[in-house]
């Protein structure tokens, strides 16, 4: 049983079969990329795994637990975190507050504890703050701590979202097009950060269009087209796979 | 005996129901053209009735009604021009709150001018004890005036939206404002027109039911909630369904007296609204996909 196991999941929206009978596994400690032309069902797949959608059929198992049908916050508590294709930071909160929310799953203070502000609570607050700063330093954004998140540039916001996702010490991270909208320098930076994250022991599943990013850092690549799995192998094999080439470049009109 | 009573309640329910339907249609016209839910819709009904009573003091009844309707239409246009026109892409929530504020201002102004007293127009024909005997059921002629007038309003609106150029322009505006603008439809004026139209039919409805239901400075809020309930019940934007939903609400309210004290009548409409919002916000006759299509 893989760390994350996806078995025959399908999802349909009205007349559109977004994901059809997809199965694959992600082993612990690897970086796996999901690629495919637009409309292939990649983000739908992410939403299914992270609990925003419920599959019509099939099963998803994470660290041995069935997660299909669970709400996102419960899946997050199991150690699965994610970022979003269109950045979803909390615009009016500061950067460090954004990152501290990421640590929600590793903290406990509830309504009563929050209102009474007991010593145990503000000790936990201090610990969360220190941890958040640590994550931000790891990703190079510690200097933005007290700035309002909405005031940062697009590339900086992407890293904030990444810091937030890491703050809860997830064992698996889903990254939905982390390089979208970034220039070459920022993309290289993100690639380095993702490798650093993997080296820390976090398993990464990443959707990306930027092929250099994908091919350089991934251990395995899953290719989707029109909701179906076309290939699931090492980057080198996938590059040479004729089905994959056809799906991206079209048929050769000889 | 029982059957007579049954029909008595039924007619009462239909009479109240038609005014709810008129308010609901007013909601839909503005919602269809602009996406705004105009909470001040109920105030148009109140203004129509109150102004007609005042004008009746020095002109014959038909003139008073026409005058009241025209003035209320002017108020509708003023509201649009002063508060709505210069907003850029407002959210529905923001608009509801603004229109709630507007309805409060109108209501306080009405209280200021007319006081707390209850008023009513005289019966158009006959008086409060005259009744027509229709196969054993005693129906007030005013009820027939109400049903008839509002029925004509619905028919005329239907003709307007389907067969006149102006009506079709408004429907185009509702479907896709940008496309309509590109086709040369003066969309800003369409918005004003939708407010004017809604105000007018609200005022006319208010005049016609005033003898039966009485008019008071504060009836607008309750009517707005019930009108909104009716509009949601039929599916926001669907005016024909609003008529049916209005009858349903009126009749349910009417018969509710059998099972609960009359004082709770108002709570029924709201309970229906809440249930609809929780269970089926697209309305009884709407469905999720086509609820986005805004037509008459």
């Amino acid at each position: 049983m893989s760390f994350l196991q996806v078995d025959n999941i399908s999802k349909r929206f009205g007349g559109l079969q977004a994901v059809k009978d997809v199965s694959f596994g992600v082993e612990r400690g690897m970086i796996k990329a999901v690629i495919g032309p637009n409309g292939a069902g990649k983000t739908t797949l992410f939403n299914l795994i992270s609990g925003f959608l419920t599959p019509d059929g099939g099963a998803i198992t994470f660290v041995g637990k069935a997660t299909h049908g669970l709400p996102p916050y419960q899946i997050a508590a199991l150690g699965l975190s994610r970022t979003f294709q269109h950045i979803k930071i909390f615009p009016r909160m500061t950067v460090i507050e954004n990152v501290m929310v990421g640590r929600h799953v590793r903290s406990h203070a509830g309504f009563v504890a929050g209102m009474l502000n007991l010593p145990r609570t503000w000790l936990e607050e201090k610990e969360m703050r220190v941890w958040a700063l640590g994550v931000m330093e790891f990703l190079g954004i510690a200097s933005f701590a007290e700035m309002e998140a909405a005031s940062l540039s697009y590339g900086q916001q992407r890293i904030v979202e990444l810091a937030r996702a890491l703050s809860g010490e997830p064992t698996m991270l889903l990254l939905d097009e982390p390089a979208a909208g970034l220039n070459m320098r920022e993309t290289k930076n993100i690639a380095t950060l993702i490798s650093k994250i993997r080296d820390k022991g976090v398993t990464v599943l990443i959707v990306e269009h930027d092929m250099s990013l994908v091919m350089n850092i991934s251990d395995e690549v899953l290719v989707l087209s029109y909701g179906e799995k076309i290939a699931d192998a090492t980057p080198g094999s996938v590059q040479k796979n004729p089905d994959v080439i056809r799906v991206y470049l079209g048929e050769d009109d000889a | 005996m029982f059957v007579e009573l049954f029909f008595q309640y039924l007619v009462a329910g239909l009479t109240y129901g038609i005014i709810y339907a008129v308010v609901g249609i007013g909601f839909n016209i503005i919602y269809n053209t602009t996406g705004i839910i105009n909470f001040a819709q109920g105030e148009f009904v109140m203004l129509g009735g109150m102004m007609a009573v005042t004008l009746f003091g020095f002109m014959p009844l038909p003139a008073a009604i026409v005058g009241a309707v025209l003035i209320t239409m002017l108020v509708g246009a003023l509201i649009e021009v002063v508060f709505i026109r210069w907003l850029v892409n407002p959210s529905v929530l923001r608009m509801i709150i603004i229109t709630i504020g507007i309805s409060i201002l109108i209501r306080e102004a009405a209280l200021f001018f007319w006081g707390e007293g209850v008023r009513s127009l005289p019966y158009f024909t006959g008086n409060e004890i005259s009744s027509l005997d229709i196969s054993g059921v005693h129906v007030s002629p005013q009820a027939l005036w109400s049903l008839g007038t509002c029925g004509i309003i619905v028919v005329l609106l239907n003709i307007f939206f389907k067969f006149t150029m102006l009506g079709r322009q408004m429907r185009a505006c509702a479907s896709n404002r940008e496309a309509a603008a590109l086709c040369g439809v003066p969309t800003r004026n369409m918005v004003t027109l939708s407010f004017v139209l809604s105000a007018g039919i609200g005022a006319l409805g208010g005049c016609v039911v005033s003898p039966i239901t009485y008019t008071q400075y504060n009836i607008g809020t309750g009517l707005a909630i019930k009108g909104f309930t009716v509009a949601v019940l039929g599916g926001l934007g669907n005016s024909m369904a609003a008529v049916a939903a209005g009858f349903v609400l009126g009749v349910v309210e009417s018969f509710s007296i059998w099972v609960m004290p009359a004082a709770y009548k108002d709570a029924i409409a709201i309970s229906i609204l809440l249930v609809m919002l929780f269970v089926r916000p697209s309305g009884l006759f709407g469905n999720k996909e086509t609820s986005r299509l805004k037509e008459f």
Partner: protein
């Protein structure tokens, strides 16, 4: 200038004490009555601020919770059980010391529920209703949520207006004073004016401390994250439905407590306390206070409610708050829940400065 939590509370307490001393010095002790009521109305406002400004959920029906608290307490403490004193249930209540015999206004003796018990029952009832209503209502968003809360408030209004045993249009009067503990009596009698002033503002102070703590805590962050982006909050492990519900219930309880205390202070309650215009008033005050600004809401509530209670707005009382709401909404580009008065003022100043430079 960012004040720490402690210094803000300190300034607040000092202001409250100073105001009381000022009334003594200027011979305007009668103002304490309205100042006391202002404090209670501010409880509703700060609770609503938590819900709307921080959790991002609009409520146009909060006057309903005020009414549930006030009416429940009023009813239980005025309903005479004397004619029923033979019944087993009543005897049981007597044994548990939940009811007591007391003199009424006309010299007779009535058997009513003890105010402390009535207060607890009212709070529990509010919690139950808030949970029951909150679960379906908070699944709605935007204008549907607004209309649903509006509907809830109107149902409560219809109930209190139409129910005979709740006094119908006249409301409930002759509500007895409420002795919280020996020495603290919530009552409108002139002798207890100063005591009641401090009871009321003390309640506000405690609530502010709790709320300010909550905002700065993990829960406060979670609530603000729900307001910022509900899906992202969910993905970060925040149980958004439960947090929204708890914020809703907490704000409802604050409103109910305000209702209970005002009712005993005034000796009565009427259906107008549950009306839409009251709910709109509270939303308008939170909005003009800056939305996600607890101290701003408190300040605005203190000023506006006091002026209203003193009659400064005259017949235009409700209209003023309606107008405030419209104006706030017209100038709020992203809608009511993102309104930030400091931001709006800053933009106006910037615009003014830019047009000056252009000339």
């Amino acid at each position: 200038m960012r004040l720490s939590r402690v210094s803000s509370i300190f300034i607040f307490v000092v202001t409250v004490i100073a105001a009381q001393i000022l009334t003594m010095a200027t011979g305007t002790v009668f103002l304490l009555t309205q100042l006391t009521m202002t404090a209670y109305y501010s409880l509703i406002v700060i609770g609503l601020c938590l819900l709307m400004g921080f959790a991002g959920q609009i409520s146009l029906g909060h006057a309903g919770f005020f009414a549930i608290g006030g009416y429940t307490s009023a009813f239980l403490t005025t309903f005479d059980l004397m004619p029923h004193r033979e019944k087993a249930f009543v005897a049981l209540l007597a044994k548990l010391h939940m009811i007591h015999a007391r003199p009424d206004l006309y010299g007779g003796v009535v058997l009513t529920v003890h105010p402390v018990v009535a207060c607890l029952v009212a709070v529990v009832l509010t919690c139950v209703v808030a949970y029951a209503i909150g679960i379906p209502v908070l699944k709605l968003k935007g204008h549907y949520l607004a209309m649903a809360t509006l509907g809830f408030g109107t149902i409560i209004y219809s109930i209190v207006l139409g129910t005979q045993c709740l006094g119908a249009a006249d409301g409930i009067s002759s509500v007895p004073p409420f002795q919280i503990v020996p020495g603290l009596l919530v009552s409108g009698i002139p002798e207890a004016r100063i005591q009641n002033y401090y009871i009321a503002w003390g309640l506000v102070a405690v609530s502010m401390v709790l709320l300010v703590n909550l905002i700065s805590s993990r829960v406060g962050r979670a609530l603000r994250s729900i307001h910022g982006d509900e899906d992202a909050a969910n993905a970060m492990g925040v149980n958004t439905a439960r947090y929204k519900l708890n914020a809703f219930v907490l704000s409802a309880v604050l409103a109910a407590v305000a209702g209970i205390f005002v009712t005993h202070f005034n000796g009565g309650i009427g259906p107008s306390e549950a009306s839409i215009v009251k709910s709109v008033r509270y939303v308008a005050i939170v909005a003009i206070g800056g939305m996600a600004n607890l101290w701003g809401s408190l300040m605005m509530s203190s000023v506006l409610n006091f002026l209203s209670l003193r009659g400064y707005f005259g017949a235009l009382d409700d209209a003023v708050f309606g107008a405030i709401l419209i104006i706030v909404m017209l100038f709020s580009p992203e809608g009511i829940l993102s309104f930030n008065i400091l931001q709006v003022l800053k933009e106006l100043v910037d615009k003014g400065r830019r047009s000056k430079e252009a000339h």
